[in-house]
Symmetry: C2
């Protein structure tokens, strides 16, 4: 009926970990990447720096928690909207738009995160092995968007390759968003709308015999990038 002493210790440790995580997520959003330090997080959580390092070996582990938090919220926002939509392009639009919505609070400090994450060797590069869990969520959303569409008329080879192309485009859109200084990043939204219109205009063409060679080239290009 009652927790054993070990459970209580476990639970206190869990609470400390959760507190450090919450404080870090808030700090990344409000102070940015550079100004968020393990020392500051420990101080605000009321624990020693050594204790903070026991829970999270580096600041970058906390950035991975941030990525996971953002993508879990992304999935939570996209899933109910996807459940009520069958049109392929609209479903894809939902995944992109709810993704940008979740990123928005981080825009003031996005350049810092980009600098820290952009090197191929960076532990917080979105393509790094350490970022697999959050990347899996986003890739899964694009796969769901495509597989759950009705009457899309997509040839099956294209349907298989499309989610990877959409995820790649998502990374490029996020890159554009970091550079976007327009109010509310409206240029990024406009770019997305144009991309979606392009996709809608291209869909009826992909089944024409004359366009098959072109489609095959696009697929091979995307496969090359994602390899």
């Amino acid at each position: 009926m009652f927790s054993s002493p070990t459970d209580a210790a476990q639970s206190k440790s869990d609470r400390t970990r959760a507190a450090l995580r919450e404080i870090a997520l808030t700090s990344f959003r409000e102070r940015g990447y550079d100004a968020t330090t393990m020392r500051l997080i420990a101080q605000e959580a009321g624990v020693s720096v050594g204790n903070a390092y026991y829970h999270f070996a580096t600041k970058n582990d906390l950035v991975q928690e941030l990525y996971l938090d953002v993508q879990e919220r992304h999935r939570a926002a996209a899933a109910p909207a996807l459940a009520g939509e069958t049109d392929l392009i609209e479903r894809i639009a939902i995944v992109y738009r709810t993704g940008l919505d979740r990123l928005t609070p981080y825009h003031p400090h996005a350049a810092e995160f980009l600098s820290a994450a952009m090197s191929p060797r960076s532990e917080i590069n979105p393509l790094s092995p350490a970022s697999t869990a959050s990347r899996d969520i986003t890739e899964g959303l694009f796969r769901d968007a495509v597989s759950g569409a009705r009457r899309s008329g997509l040839p099956s080879d294209l349907a298989r390759a499309l989610p990877a192309a959409l995820f790649l485009s998502h990374l490029l859109l996020a890159l554009f968003w970091v550079y976007d200084r327009s109010p509310g990043q409206e240029r990024t939204r406009r770019l997305l709308d144009r991309g979606l219109r392009l996709l809608r205009a291209a869909l009826p063409l992909v089944r024409l015999p004359i366009a098959r060679g072109l489609v095959r080239e696009v697929l091979e290009l995307v496969a090359e990038v994602g390899r």
Copy 2:
């Protein structure tokens, strides 16, 4: 007949500047961005650190010299090859390939340069005002590649928009190249070859009435990114 003392001083100052520049270019290639410091460059040139700063206010000014040097060599390699080629796709291929050739010696340290240059606020971002001179060379090469082609059959609106799209693709290809760990960056070359084949396959289609809406969407998308 003889130089005045002022000329001699001018000439000595020019020689110091040229020496600092050469040493910096070599150091960026051999040691990379992070390990190249003004102190080290001054030391190797046999001048005081203060004198080095008189010629180049920051290390980033020397990176701009590097960009300019690489792009001048790019132009010098592309120009004679372009003079002997009239096919649009082959001309575009020349500009991309000679560009990658010039980048190749910098690949071992490319990740460092990317980290330093990627922030929208970075003084050595290739899109920054400080990088205008080297960017102008590259953009000019893509304009020449398109305008000097014979019988390309490109609709005029597409011919006007194409150089900006090619330059944007060049930046994305360079980004891919930084991440490319294959021997001799052969994956980047293969990606380029596929992109060129895609362009060649798309060319006959762009004049079909059925594809006009699609082409217009592509043009507006590119214009949005480049705005």
